[in-house]
């Protein structure tokens, strides 16, 4: 038996009417950019499915890499055979025998090519009874089977698969445009970025760095997080913004109980400006309603007023524990909890306003030359492209 294919199932994008073509093309492109790093397997479009032709690559390796790509509902290895019912029976049996832990199964036959001898019902019966006759201890359960053998009759052959690896769902990255993520290094913002990717966004990220108050390790941590995110959404362009001068200026000019509010407003302005330069149409951050002083409704409103661009907050109604669960599941949690100072924790006043007033904020800001501060920070940013296979430190490639 030849495992030649992997069936890629996608749900939501099939519903998207006229956009369907674009979505399929994007998904295929995302899959192929991952496959190119593995070997010679490639994705191909056929009716409502993508099929990955393995061309000799290990199906397990391919599946383990593809299951993290957004837009995929599930993946199955599939063997291709003829329209002949005897061939179909034999392959189905072999696939079933590899599912060693299964106790129950069912057969689901579908025909998109109708000119074969048996219809779907007859195929279900013929394949199912053949598997039953040739195995021990396995029974049919049509409602809740351990394994579903799917038989798909197409014009150029019959695809048979058993077992399913679930994908992450969502939309293919690139189909929803670009967003600018405010990436702090904490638990929340990487999760927010992940969720934005899940809905098809290309994510770029801004990080505020305040040397010497925040050190190289804090920056490295953010690079590591961006790298982890790139596993799901492709290479992440990271803009590291020098923020020390801004924070010092705020510390000197602004009463401490409004410092946090004004700092956030300036961060928003800087991010908005970088977004405009990079062609991003929205900002994304990890705010969750009521979590900290800056995330009360009053704070959100007063801070948000500084920017005109839409701000997406994927975590706004989530509990911390829910966010932590996602962070663990996507592999950012362990990096996020490393205990390095970031720019939000230094200069933190003892008491921040939980209900800052917009009028007050505007009034305090008149003592700052905000446009100049923003321009300087934006112009001095360090952009870099972080991807999962870019070495973290070139000094080490020779050593390791």
């Amino acid at each position: 038996m030849n495992i030649e294919h992997i069936l890629v199932r996608y749900g939501e994008i099939a519903l998207k009417g006229k956009n369907r073509n674009e979505f399929e093309r994007a998904l295929k492109g995302n899959i192929n950019s991952v496959l190119r790093k593995i070997g010679s397997s490639r994705a191909k479009r056929t009716f409502g499915r993508l099929i990955v032709e393995l061309n000799g690559d290990d199906p397990n390796v391919v599946i383990s890499r593809l299951k993290d790509i957004f837009g995929i509902i599930s993946l199955s290895v599939a063997a291709k055979t003829s329209h002949d019912v005897h061939d179909i029976q034999k392959v189905a049996l072999q696939l079933m025998k590899e599912e060693t832990t299964a106790k129950t199964f069912k057969v689901s036959a579908r025909r998109s090519f109708k000119k074969t001898e048996l219809d779907s019902q007859a195929l279900n019966y013929e394949v199912g009874s053949y598997v039953l006759r040739n195995t021990d201890d396995i029974t049919v359960d049509v409602h809740n089977p351990d394994v579903e053998i799917s038989v798909e009759v197409r014009e150029h052959g019959t695809y048979i698969s058993a077992g399913k690896v679930l994908g992450r769902g969502g939309l293919p990255v690139g189909t929803s445009g670009k967003v600018m993520l405010m990436l702090s290094g904490g638990i929340d913002s990487p999760v927010a970025g992940y969720l934005a990717m899940k809905r098809g966004s290309i994510v770029e990220a801004v990080h505020f760095h305040s040397p010497p108050f925040t050190n190289e390790r804090a920056k490295q941590k953010v690079i590591d997080l961006a790298k982890q995110l790139s596993l799901y959404g492709g290479a992440v362009r990271l803009h590291v913004v020098p923020f020390t001068e801004v924070q010092q200026e705020i510390h000197r000019q602004i009463p401490s109980y409004y410092a946090m509010t004004i700092t956030r407003r300036i961060m928003l302005r800087i991010t908005e400006k970088i977004a405009a330069e990079q062609g991003a149409l929205a900002l994304v951050n990890g705010e969750s309603l009521g979590q900290v002083a800056s995330q009360t409704l009053e704070s959100l409103r007063t801070i948000e007023q500084a920017a005109e661009i839409p701000i997406l907050r994927p975590l706004i109604t989530m509990d911390k524990i829910e966010v932590m669960d996602i962070a663990k599941q996507i592999g950012t949690y362990e990096t996020s909890i490393l205990p390095y100072e970031d720019c939000c924790t230094i200069f933190l006043p003892e008491q921040s306003k939980t209900k800052p007033k917009l009028e007050k904020a505007l009034q305090f800001e008149t003592s700052l030359d905000i446009d100049a501060m923003v321009d300087k920070a934006v112009n001095n940013r360090e952009p870099s492209l972080i991807s999962s296979d870019s070495p973290t430190d070139n000094n080490f490639t020779e050593l390791l």
């Binding site: 050190n215 390790r217 490295q220 362990e334 430190d393 000094n395 080490f396 050593l399 390791l400």
Partner: protein, 384 residues
């Protein structure tokens, strides 16, 4: 020199030594220090851990660096015993384990644990049936080696792992010191909770190794102190040695496919040759064994004498585990395999190859043995 004792230790790759020396020169900082030198060392440590995690298809936080196989085995077994003693005090291992497993179990027996030592068949392999019978309500750990250090026999860890998945309370430890880089072992699919690996068995440096600890598996540390290695092994990390371990592991994995097929071919041929000799019994299973180890019992000889005579010809082999071979007793592994009465247990000779071994080396070994064995047998007969 013909070195055929690669199960005892291997010659380090020059690249591994280069990494160790260079890392000592450039990255001598303490990874816990906050300054630049510390941060550099920490980065190297992190990248080394990631390199190994990638090879294992594991998370970096699941790799705990140790001083080698014996420490990894001790940390795994004592660590589980201490962390889980309230859940039960029964352990299961096999009669053919490395002394670092057996003696740890014997120690635990003196402090209130009970241990079942699974027997092996004539090929030196344990059975699932025996495992099933040994499991009790009290069982908290099963520790089984992957590849036997004396005979190269492969234990059915896959089968064991699959079976043990049903038992929520039991942790599964695999000593993979002899198997790493030689025999494939997919830690994830087998359902292994802990796995020991030692650097110097695959051309890394002595004093390097790691224990894989599955995320969510709690163990008690042996060494307390500064919280290094995820609180599991205190003490300033030996970053240069750890980097050299990552290098050796990567090289071993990269060369695995080509080398192992060459080794398997040579082993097969050597197998045929020994099998055809008069009064020689091959103790290594023909099929289910690692590609680099061959153990034979040569009747009417004393292994110590053969080793000495071969060594005079600059050919280096050994009898049993180096960790036990200075004691003049029979091989514990072969005793378990054949029983007390059988002479084979007292006459075992181990030939263990590496990527450096050539066909010419084996020809030299055969020629030397053909000459030496009759002489030794003659002397033995005269004496008795």
């Amino acid at each position: 020199m013909i070195y055929l004792d690669n199960s005892a230790t291997t010659e380090p790759y020059p690249e591994v030594i280069h990494t160790f020396v260079t890392a000592n020169e450039r990255y001598f900082g303490n990874p816990s220090s906050l300054h630049q030198k510390g941060s550099e060392a920490e980065n190297l440590l992190r990248e080394a851990r990631r390199t190994i995690a990638r090879l294992l298809n594991a998370q970096p936080s699941e790799v705990v660096f140790t001083s080698g196989g014996s420490e990894s085995n001790n940390l795994a077994i004592q660590g589980i015993a201490r962390a889980r003693e309230k859940r039960g005090r029964h352990l299961i291992t096999t009669a053919v384990e490395h002394p670092s497993v057996l003696e740890t179990c014997e120690y635990l027996e003196t402090v209130g644990f009970s241990v079942t030592y699974l027997p092996v068949n004539e090929e030196g392999v344990v059975s699932l049936t025996d495992l099933k019978q040994a499991i009790t309500e009290e069982t908290i750990l099963v520790s089984v080696m992957h590849v036997n250090h004396e005979t190269g026999a492969i234990q059915p860890v896959l089968e064991f792992g699959e079976y043990l998945k049903k038992f929520e309370k039991i942790r599964f430890h695999v000593d993979n010191v002899q198997g790493f880089g030689k025999v494939n072992l997919d830690i994830q699919s087998v359902g292994i909770d802990l796995c020991s690996v030692s650097g110097h068995k695959f051309h890394g440096l002595k004093g390097t190794g790691f224990l894989y600890v599955r995320s969510g598996v709690n163990i008690q540390p042996l060494v307390f102190g500064g919280g290094q290695e995820f609180q599991l092994r205190a003490g300033t990390e030996n970053v240069p040695a750890i980097a050299s371990l990552a290098k050796a592991a990567r090289m071993a994995m990269e060369k695995k496919e080509i080398q192992n097929s060459k080794l398997a071919r040579m082993k097969q041929e050597l197998f045929e040759w020994f099998d055809a000799q008069e009064g020689v019994h091959v103790n290594t299973p023909r099929e289910t064994s690692a590609p680099h180890i061959m153990n034979v019992s040569i009747e009417r000889t004393m292994p110590e004498v053969l080793i000495q005579a071969l060594s005079n010809k600059d050919i280096h082999v050994s009898s049993k585990s180096a960790c036990a071979s200075k004691q003049p007793s029979k091989s514990a592994v072969l005793l378990a395999q054949f029983g007390e009465e059988d002479e084979r247990a007292a006459t075992g000779l181990r030939v263990s190859m590496s990527w450096q071994t050539s066909q010419a080396d084996l020809e030299a070994l055969k020629a030397a043995l053909s000459q030496i064995v009759p002489q030794v047998r003659e002397m033995k007969e005269v004496k008795s």
